[in-house]
């Protein structure tokens, strides 16, 4: 029932902060289905803040502006409702939850999203089949299922686990926050392969990254540079290469 010419995500003059400090100082960004957007920028520029605000982390405060998702005001929704509507954030720092197994966690999430859409809960055995198939995508061992969520996982395992969750939950809008950091080249290839396999014309992806390395594998349609809480430059994929060569300083001076 979408209105014509409507963006999937439309962020207007978004300002947000944490602990009494303004971090995002007016973000404008529009995303259409099928697109891949890279958000780059130096450490501390506000990339994770943007990702967390879009996912609904209550620790961050929205100070102004708006964001609509398929025409609906996004920032007033509870985080679980955003997820049920198809938004997924792969965390820069995935959270450890000792005592809850990965399998139970994944099945709960999968079923809650189905229930919110008016669908039946999945049969546990069918779910096992589904999950084993998705695990192949990220080349994860099934022993991972009986371990506590992210507890004692290596950095690479945590990042793969994020992509596994994404593969199981099949979001419409995926936000990957530095999913490449801490990965060796093999792991990077696996994670990127997983993301690419999940790309569909009606899905969109925001890839937050500090380096252009990942963008060799996940090729973006647009590249945005975030600095001091603002998007200071947008361009095509060649912008990433330019950043790789010249660094961020020349843009910071302009900001």
């Amino acid at each position: 029932m979408s209105i014509k010419n409507e963006y999937m995500l439309d962020i207007k003059s978004l300002r947000a902060g944490i602990a009494e400090r303004e971090i995002l100082k007016g973000i404008n960004l529009t995303i259409n289905p099928g697109e891949v957007h890279a958000v780059m920028g130096p450490n501390g520029s506000g990339k994770s803040t943007l990702a967390q605000v879009l996912a609904g982390n209550p620790a961050y405060e929205v100070l102004g502006g708006s964001a609509t998702y398929n025409g609906e005001e996004l920032l007033v929704l509870e985080p679980e409702v955003r997820a049920q509507k198809g938004i997924f954030l792969a965390f820069q720092y995935p959270v450890e939850i000792p005592g809850v197994t990965n399998a139970y966690f994944l099945r709960s999430a999968y079923n809650e999203i189905r229930k919110a859409r008016g669908e039946e809960e999945i049969d546990p055995l069918d779910f096992l089949d589904l999950i084993e198939e998705r695990m192949k995508l990220v080349e994860m061992d099934s022993s991972m299922l009986n371990r506590s969520v992210n507890a004692g996982f290596s950095g690479g395992e945590k990042k793969r686990n994020e992509i596994l969750q994404m593969a199981v939950l099949q979001p419409k809008l995926a936000i990957l926050d530095e999913t490449d950091s801490g990965l060796d080249i093999d792991a990077l290839r696996i994670v990127a392969g997983g993301v690419n396999a999940l790309r569909r014309p009606d899905n969109a992806t925001i890839v937050v990254t500090h380096y252009q390395r990942l963008l060799n594998y996940i090729v973006p349609d647009f590249v945005h540079v975030l600095a001091n809480g603002r998007i200071v430059r947008s361009g095509g994929k060649e912008l990433a290469l330019e950043l790789e060569e010249r660094g961020y300083d020349w843009l910071l001076d302009a900001a």
């Binding site: 209550p58 679980e80 997820a83 965390f91 939850i97 000792p98 966690f105 709960s108």
Partner: protein, 461 residues
């Protein structure tokens, strides 16, 4: 080296709780009524020494009276509510109990069950183990055999502190039936023993005083579960005492599940004495009763022994749950590990007091204690107090306590995956509790407690 850490969440409640004050006159009058009814308290045939113990105990109780909140051990828990009436021992057992009534309290696997209803042994639902090397049966039966009665006599009253603990004195005066378990040297009890203390509607107003003793000779092994359960919502007072002897090289697993009636009061005290190179695993699981108090004390009286004291309490509404543990390291190279976890909802109140005392000669002591509490509501309150007294210099003792709400980062992570707040909180609560349940080494017990815990959160959520 002493390494003491006390961590508390920034907004942890540190208000001291001195419950509703009880007028002295009321308290003393109530105590006098118990002393008064001792005269009418009818016991069948029993050994002279037992009668003598009862008389000494009621005298001690008359001197002590009921504790007030100015008593250091009762500072955070008021007994005012249970002084509103005088509880009276139930003279005869009702015959209304069937195997079906108690089926849901049983465990999977090879268990021997001794059933007590409102303080009386229910023979037709119980199995007595009476072999050459292992005895596990009701105290009443154990005393009827002359040789066995002598073993009982050697242990009964040897550890229970009737001089300073009013409720223990009260139990010793009015003690009803209970279990006697004796495992000979170098013997493993063939089955786990389940002591199932049931209260039904006939327990209204009852004083139920189970009295148990567990004796493991050297290198013996046994598992004993004490369950306190209710069929109904009667208001009664369970006041139980168990004396525990763990011989050299022996190993005892000793568990308690307290799921009394929501209107009941429960006081349960364990007194243990450990020999050399032995292991005592004590676990307390508490979800029932309006007010419950569990005392667990052990004396590490031989070198190289180990005690683990673990527990989980889950309370809501107006419940109060109080755990007091005491470990005395009297000899060298012993270890004591303690983990108590609590989940509180509604206006509930939890108290934890863990005493560790290290004698000058108890060098190379290794003591570890933690008490972690999860608050699910604004109204819930915790008073936690570790108490270390260390008189040896070559020891390693740590303790820590936490009180706080569900971790907001973890909560957001779950929500960001589409899981709504009530399920997310239930999952995190369950995960919090699961850590301590993992200490349970019998899968059937662990599974049952996990089920009870999960059920409990489902109601609370």
């Amino acid at each position: 080296m002493t390494d003491a850490v006390l961590t508390q969440a920034p907004d942890s409640p540190e208000v001291e709780r001195v419950g509703a004050p009880i007028p002295h006159a009321t308290r003393d009058a109530r105590a006098a009524e118990y002393v008064g009814q001792f005269g009418e308290f009818a016991r069948g045939q029993e050994p002279m020494w037992l009668g003598a113990q009862r008389r000494a105990a009621i005298e001690s109780f008359a001197t002590l009276g009921f504790p007030t909140t100015s008593n250091e051990d009762w500072h955070f828990t008021s007994v005012a509510a249970l002084l509103e009436r005088t509880y009276v021992p139930v003279a005869t057992a009702s015959e209304a109990l069937s195997a079906r009534d108690i089926a849901r309290f049983q465990f999977e696997g090879d268990w021997q069950t001794l059933v007590f209803l409102n303080g009386h042994f229910v023979g037709q639902l119980s199995q007595i183990e009476s072999g050459l090397k292992v005895y596990a049966g009701p105290m009443s039966d154990a005393l009827s055999d002359e040789a066995r009665a002598r073993i009982v006599e050697r242990h009964f009253g040897g550890l229970a502190d009737t001089r300073t603990h009013a409720f223990t004195a009260l139990n010793s005066a009015f003690s009803g039936d209970g279990a006697f378990i004796h495992v000979a040297a170098d013997t493993v009890a063939p089955r786990n023993v389940h002591l199932l203390f049931v209260s039904d509607d006939a327990a209204e107003g009852a004083l139920v005083s189970p009295r148990n003793a567990i004796v493991l000779e050297h290198h013996a092994e046994a598992t004993v579960m004490e369950s306190y359960v209710a069929l109904g919502n009667a208001n009664y007072l369970t006041n139980a005492v168990t004396e525990v002897y763990v011989g050299d090289g022996a190993r005892l697993r000793h568990y308690k599940i307290q799921r009394e009636s929501i209107n009941a009061y429960h006081v349960g005290s364990w007194y243990a004495n450990q020999g050399r190179a032995c292991t005592y695993e004590a676990f307390s699981f508490a979800i029932g009763a309006d007010m419950s108090r569990t005392n667990i004390a052990t004396l590490l009286d031989g070198e190289g022994s180990h005690v683990s004291l673990d527990g989980l309490y889950l309370v809501n509404g107006d419940q109060t749950v109080d755990h007091q543990t005491s470990v005395i390291h009297a000899k060298e190279s012993c270890t004591s590990h303690e983990l108590y976890k609590g989940v509180l909802d509604g206006d509930s109140h939890a108290v934890f007091n863990g005493k560790v005392y290290v004698h000058p000669e108890a060098q190379k002591t290794d003591g570890k204690q933690s008490n972690n509490n999860l608050l699910l509501s604004e109204g819930a309150r915790v008073d936690t107090k570790p108490q270390l007294e260390i008189y040896a210099d070559d020891v390693k003792c740590t303790h820590g306590a936490t009180i706080g709400p569900v971790d907001s980062t973890a909560l957001f992570y779950l929500k960001s995956r589409g899981i709504g707040p009530s399920i997310a909180i239930r999952l995190l609560t369950y995960a919090f509790a699961a850590e301590v349940l993992e200490e349970l080494t019998i899968p059937a017990v662990r599974d049952e407690l996990e089920r009870l815990a999960f059920e409990r959160f489902a109601v609370g959520a």
